[in-house]
């Protein structure tokens, strides 16, 4: 079995457009949440969202490549460009070695809706143009990244709701651990637009604390009233230790555990047992005791039921050692398909720079979160091993464990 290491990272989110900007926002506990008037006019119950600016790709990509990319594909491209640079992997290396891509994405709603609006109006499918079909498929991100970077290894998309990004890293870990691939681009992408989240808003799952957008996301807080949708993209370069050492790469961390489970229950109501089993499996896979974990980046999205279930599961497994816990969604909102990947990047940045980012807006605990060691303000401390949770609709659960490379 191969050891699996992280040799590159890239991020494009509401906390910043690159690793340095994001690390700074995390340290300062800065929120990326705004109130979007377009959503209110469109009929949303809540107009709150993470704010992510579209990147300008002119000069970086030719026209054909640009028009093939939907919004989340643009974010994924920018994050992957940074991650490959960070890893020291260039076009020559990709031409000579089999590099794969496994990326999380679970919608391309804007592209679908806009194309169908054209057909409905013009009564002619051809007028959607050549790029539409490539933008609208769920696999749009992997098909575009594989084409742009000329990748020749494994190539498919992981759609697992809000655990998509996490499972993509988990699967990449297994592909490399078992020797099927030496290097894989993993990550998650999430579109941020008013067309993509209306039906999620319909479930009354979003916070309506619109008067203070930056204070609206309150994971684990007694007075939380829902999540805030957000997005962008995050990429990590996974590599076998042998491959990384052979090319003299800087090793940023090692993926040591991946636990997964399905709740076997309701499509949207969370359970304690599902996450509990994912946590236990991740620890077992890593061969670690709960006390070895220094920090848990919680899935906690700021919904009443979800946060309570996760708090119970974390306490059941980690109650004795009581590691630091924070939900970076307090700053980012819920980055959905991207979240499992971005939260690995956020936690990696904390591990690299020696701090735990705060769970902002955590003012009053409830009966479950009071038992956890939730970080209200930035703590400067060494993180040697962290765990990151991601859960999604349908009861899909994923827990990843990463440690400093020794």
């Amino acid at each position: 079995m191969n050891r699996v290491v992280i040799t590159g990272m890239g991020i494009y989110s509401c906390l910043g457009k690159n690793l340095d900007e994001v690390a700074d926002s995390l340290y300062k506990g800065k929120s990326g949440i705004v109130l979007d008037p377009v959503r209110k006019a469109y009929g949303y119950r809540s107009g709150l969202t993470g704010f992510v600016e579209r990147p300008d790709l002119k000069g970086l990509l030719d026209r054909r490549s640009r028009i093939m990319l939907p919004e989340q594909g643009e974010y994924a491209y920018v994050a992957t460009l940074e991650a490959l640079k960070n890893a020291g992997i260039d076009a020559d290396y990709i031409a000579q070695n089999e590099v794969g891509v496994l990326y999380g994405n679970d919608s391309s709603a804007k592209a679908v809706i806009e194309a169908n609006d054209i057909v409905r109006e013009k009564k002619d499918t051809m007028l959607v143009g050549s790029a539409s079909v490539f933008q609208t498929m769920n696999s749009t991100v992997t098909m575009n990244l594989a084409t742009i970077f000329k990748l020749r290894g494994v190539n498919f998309t992981i759609s697992a709701a809000c655990a998509s990004g996490s499972h993509s890293i988990g699967l990449g870990y297994h592909f490399i651990k078992t020797g099927l691939q030496d290097c894989i681009i993993c990550g998650g992408a999430q579109e941020v637009n008013h067309l993509s989240m209306g039906n999620f808003d319909a479930l009354s799952a979003f916070s309506v604390h619109e008067s203070e957008p930056e204070k609206a996301s309150k994971p684990f807080d007694r007075d939380r009233d829902g999540l805030i949708p957000s997005g962008g993209a995050a990429t990590v370069i996974l590599e076998s230790l042998e491959s990384a050492q052979k090319r003299g790469a800087t090793i940023l961390g090692e993926v040591v555990g991946y636990g997964f489970s399905s709740n076997g229950g309701h499509i949207s109501n969370p359970t304690v047992d599902g996450p509990y089993r994912a946590l236990k499996k991740a620890l077992e896979d890593a061969g670690l005791e709960p006390a070895a974990i220094d920090y848990i980046n919680a899935h906690a999205t700021s919904t009443p039921a979800g946060d309570a279930s996760e708090a119970k599961a974390i306490f059941e497994v980690f109650g004795e050692s009581n590691p630091y816990v924070s939900s970076t969604k307090s700053m980012t909102g819920h980055e959905c398909w991207m979240a499992g990947a971005s939260e690995i990047v956020y936690s990696m940045l904390m591990m690299q720079k020696g701090f735990v980012a705060p769970n902002i807006n955590f003012e009053n605990p409830d009966e479950d979160s009071v038992k956890l060691n939730i970080v209200k303000n930035t703590v400067e401390t060494d993180i040697n091993i962290f765990l990151s949770n991601s859960f999604g609709f349908g009861g899909t659960n994923s827990s990843l464990i990463v440690r400093k490379f020794i």
């Binding site: 030719d62 026209r63 054909r64 028009i67 013009k122 002619d124 051809m126 007028l127 959607v128 143009g129 050549s130 790029a131």
Partner: protein
């Protein structure tokens, strides 16, 4: 709209939307070989024509179009036919 006006508009579209170098935009420039337009670009040309000139193209109409000059002639003929109606 006369052929000169159409040519100016077509060249502008090719420069701005298809990012073709303006130096390549001569009447006898081959759409596939010189401008490197592929089968997907032809779909986008259909969209461009509809947007800029207001008529729909059938893909088979492209069969006889080889150069920019041919393309402009085609657009001109379709516009004339439309104006006659």
């Amino acid at each position: 709209m006369n052929i000169e006006e159409i040519t100016v508009k077509v060249n502008a579209v090719l420069t701005e939307e298809f990012e073709v170098e303006s130096a390549k935009l001569t009447p006898d420039a081959n759409l596939k070989e010189t401008l490197e337009l592929d089968s997907l670009d032809y779909i986008d040309l259909v969209v461009v024509i509809e947007t800029n000139f207001g008529f729909k193209v059938k893909p088979e109409d492209f069969a006889g179009i080889v150069t920019i000059g041919d393309f402009c002639e085609y657009v001109h003929s379709r516009i004339q036919a439309k104006e006659l109606v």
